[in-house]
C-alpha cells in the first residue's frame, strides 16, 4: 500500500484559484475565528492564573490586557468568539435540516458578520 504516484492524477481546482463566495468565505472565517479564540483563551487563562497567584503577577497581566493593545486584542477576540458562535449555530441549523438553500445560506453569512459586529459593540459598550 505504498503511496506510489500520490497526487499524479487530475485534481479538482485548488481553493486559491477558486472564486470566493459568501458561503465559502463565511465558512472559512468560522474556522479562523475558532483557532483565534483558542489563542485568545491563553490571555484569559493567563489573567485568571495571575489573579489567583499574587497581586504583583496580577498587576503585570492585568496591565497588559487593559493597555491599548490589550483592548484591541480583546475587542478582536470578542468579535471572533461571537462570529464563531453564530457560525456554529448555522451548522446546527443546517444539521437539523433548515436553511440549506444557497440564497438563504448567503443571507445567513451576511447576518453572521453583521450580528457578530453588533454583539461585539453592544458587549464592549456595556462592560
Amino acid at each position: 500500500m505504498a503511496d506510489v504516484n500520490r497526487g499524479n492524477r487530475p485534481l479538482s481546482p485548488h481553493i486559491m484559484i477558486y472564486r470566493p463566495q459568501l458561503t465559502s468565505i463565511s465558512s472559512i472565517m468560522v474556522r479562523i475565528t475558532g483557532i483565534a479564540t483558542l489563542g485568545a483563551a491563553l490571555l484569559i487563562v493567563a489573567w485568571l492564573l495571575a489573579a489567583a497567584s499574587s497581586p504583583a503577577a496580577f498587576a503585570v497581566v492585568d496591565g497588559l490586557l487593559r493597555s491599548v493593545l490589550g483592548d484591541l486584542i480583546l475587542f478582536a477576540a470578542l468579535w471572533a468568539v461571537y462570529y464563531h458562535m453564530l457560525g456554529r449555530l448555522r451548522h446546527v441549523l443546517w444539521d437539523f435540516g433548515y436553511f440549506v438553500q444557497v440564497p438563504v445560506s448567503e443571507k445567513m453569512a451576511i447576518g453572521m458578520f453583521g450580528l457578530a459586529t453588533v454583539l461585539t459593540i453592544f458587549t464592549a459598550a456595556i462592560v
Binding site: L38, V45, L49, V92
Partner: protein, 123 residues
C-alpha cells in the same frame, strides 16, 4: 500516471468508527456555545477592570465562578477540536501528529489551569 486514489486504496478496510460521535459532540458543544459565550464574555468583562481585591471578591462568589469555569471548559474544548480538525486537514505525516499532540496539550493545559485558577480564587 496512476489513477488509483486514496479512497480506492482504503475501500473495504472499514471506517474509523468515530466520525458520528465526533460530529454529535461538535453539535452539542456548538449548541452550548450559544448560552455560554455571552455568559463568559459578560462575566469576564465585569471582572476585568477591577482591582485585584475586587477580582478576588468577584470569583469568591459561587455562581460567577461556576459559570466561568464551565464556560471556559466548553469553549476551549470546542475551539481545540476546531484547531485539531484544521490540523488534520492541512498538516500531514509526522508534523501533523506532533502538531495534534501539541495542540491537545495546549488546549487541555488551558482548561486545567483556568479551572484551577478559578477554583483557587473561589475556595
Amino acid at each position: 500516471m496512476s489513477y488509483l486514489t486514496d479512497r480506492k486504496r482504503v475501500t473495504g478496510l472499514g471506517s474509523g468508527r468515530e466520525g458520528t460521535h465526533h460530529h454529535w459532540q461538535m453539535m452539542i458543544s456548538s449548541i452550548l456555545l450559544v448560552p455560554l459565550v455571552p455568559l463568559f464574555v459578560f462575566l469576564f468583562g465585569f471582572a476585568l477592570g477591577g482591582t485585584h481585591d475586587e477580582v478576588l471578591a468577584f470569583f469568591s462568589r459561587p455562581v460567577p465562578a461556576i459559570i466561568m469555569a464551565l464556560a471556559l471548559l466548553v469553549i476551549v474544548w470546542h475551539v481545540m477540536q476546531e484547531a485539531l480538525v484544521a490540523i488534520e486537514d492541512y498538516v500531514h505525516g509526522l508534523a501533523g501528529k506532533l502538531t495534534l499532540i501539541a495542540t491537545k496539550a495546549f488546549g487541555y493545559t488551558l482548561m486545567f489551569v483556568g479551572v484551577f485558577a478559578i477554583a483557587r480564587m473561589a475556595l
